[in-house]
Amino acid sequence: MSAAAAIPSQHWELVPKREGDGELLEVAMGPHHPSTHGVFRMDVVLDGERVVKLKPVFGYLHRNHEKIAESTSYLGSMPYTDRLDYFCSLTNNWAYALAVEKLTGLQVPERADYLRVITAELTRLQNHACLVGFLLQDMGASGTPLMYAFREREKILDLFESLTGARMMCNYMRFGGCRCDLPPGWLEQAKKVVDETPRFLDEFERFLTDNEILMARTQHVGVLRRDLAINAGVTGPMLRASGVNYDLRKVDRYGIYDRFQFRVPLGDHGDTYDRYMIRVLEMRESVKILQQALAAIPEGPIIDPKSKLRGLRPKTGEVYARIEAPKGELGFYLISDGGPKPYRYRVRPPSLVNLTVLEDMCLGHLVADVVVILGSVDIVMGEVDR
């Protein structure tokens, strides 16, 4: 529907003069646009430079992941979960493994739980660092902050590579444990990387947090109210930037998160600056968790001896399991009919649900701010479209 066509033409001269030349302008931002983090389109209606309407359009990367998973075995879709949110393959693995473990009653050994926490928090570190880099890139700080973030990410990806054999598509976890144990010297290397991270964060923050341009572009831009955030199911750092204390690591205490001391940072304005700040603070908390976990990891088996790789047939039933992925609540919903394939397999994608409020955050802002607001949502199209 064209917005200009909604105004009857015989009363054209009665339409009050607006900013610009008085006409609404419809712009399709995307699907190929440097700021859309993939193949994503926003149909924006503009009055001058102000946004009066915004509809997100997606589906360009849709490959029906759920149908593919329903036509293969339980283990067969484990590598496929890597491709959902391709920045955070290890947390995707964990969410899926957790769902199947709840469905079958498998117990995870202690060492495997520590390995999961360590890899998940490393994933969170690199995801948040890159997000901040991309956000600055969207603001026009071309390249430099992103390369600073990528330099750190590279160290973490090297750790993933020596542990799992792959830098991004790790495919590391199995039902009831992990695939392989740590290679020699890995813990020392990881400790070194983790201990260097606060210095990187200090440097990063010295350039960014008090930066005048960053403050001007982000403060009071894209404010998300607390009650709307809850009602719209927004999760993750975006929700906590709006001041809601809801972190699944504290609420559900899945895995062994009850053993670690860490705080949940909260924002109180809910604007883009808070969403940036929450990510930086969460990285510092992740460093704390990592230091505790790397010091306390015990020896022992890494997989439940009852776990079968092939021919897994859970009993009839269903389960919903969720974890705190770097982008928000990542959930897997499985229904088993007793066969070797899941009867129903559903991914609850945090990126997709967080986009529900994109229009509410953008209304009334300039079109240049839309880019920044979208950058602060933290989406990955592989997960939005599945």
Binding site: F58, G59, H62, N64, E66, K67, K102, L103, T104, G105, L228, I230, N231, A232, G233, V234, T235, V244, Y246, V251, P314, K315, T316, G317, E318, V319, Y320, A321, R322, E329, G331, Y333, I335, S336, R344, R346, R348, L352, V353, L355, T356, V357, D385, R386
Partner: protein, 208 residues
């Protein structure tokens, strides 16, 4: 779960509720709600001061086609003048339906999940369900996705369009009886089955 059911029943008389069992170790049982009262039940769960399920996390659809259920039924029969009990295998046909599943949590009280299920009458024409988007905004995109992939029509949804598939697409890909269309591009190698497929796809007379 029984407690929540009793609370809803006392607040909303005449509501149809059933608890569905779950045999798996997860033990997450769900609440089957009659469609006529679904919106009222959702509002009650969100607003009741000691429940406060203010966060609808996951919304999804499930397709249950017609299925033949086999169950053992005990039958009493007279055999040689003595009454005996026999087990008889009885087959019943369960008519198919589509299902929408809602996972509710509470951010305020930090409890959950409560799982709501709504069922349509059948899989063809009686495929309408009340939309819960007026209660929880988080259902907006997820209900659109169910409409897109399963073909459940949500009455009262503000913007019910296809979300992942393109407009003009006819079928519902997540249904169990969906057949992939035979329209892939391929390299016409000189194998018999490939050539046969090519003739099916592009009949020779159509070229002229």
């Amino acid at each position: 779960m029984e407690d929540i059911k009793a609370q809803i029943e006392s607040a909303l008389p005449g509501v149809r509720l059933d608890i569905l069992p779950n045999d798996s170790p997860s033990g997450q049982r769900s609440l089957l709600v009659g469609n006529a009262h679904a919106l009222a039940v959702a509002r009650f769960l969100r607003d009741a001061p000691d429940l406060r399920f203010d966060y609808c996390s996951n919304v999804t659809g499930v397709d249950w086609p017609d299925a033949e259920l086999t169950g053992k039924v005990k039958v009493k029969m007279l055999l040689d003048g003595v009454e005996k009990e026999f087990e008889e295998v009885k087959k019943t046909v369960r008519p198919g339906f589509l299902e929408a599943v809602y996972h509710l949590y509470s951010m305020e009280k930090k409890h959950g999940p409560v799982i709501l299920r709504l069922r349509t009458g059948n899989r063809t024409d009686d495929n309408h369900l009340p939309s819960l988007t007026p209660v929880w905004r988080s259902c907006e995109f997820q209900e659109r996705e169910i409409f897109d992939l399963f073909g459940i029509v949500f009455d009262g949804h503000p913007d019910l369009r296809r979300i992942l598939m393109w407009e003009g697409f006819k079928d519902f890909p997540m249904r169990k009886d969906y057949v992939e269309p035979d329209d892939y591009e391929y390299e016409p190698t000189a194998h018999d089955e490939v050539l046969a497929k090519a003739r099916r796809q592009f009949p020779p007379e159509a070229k002229a």
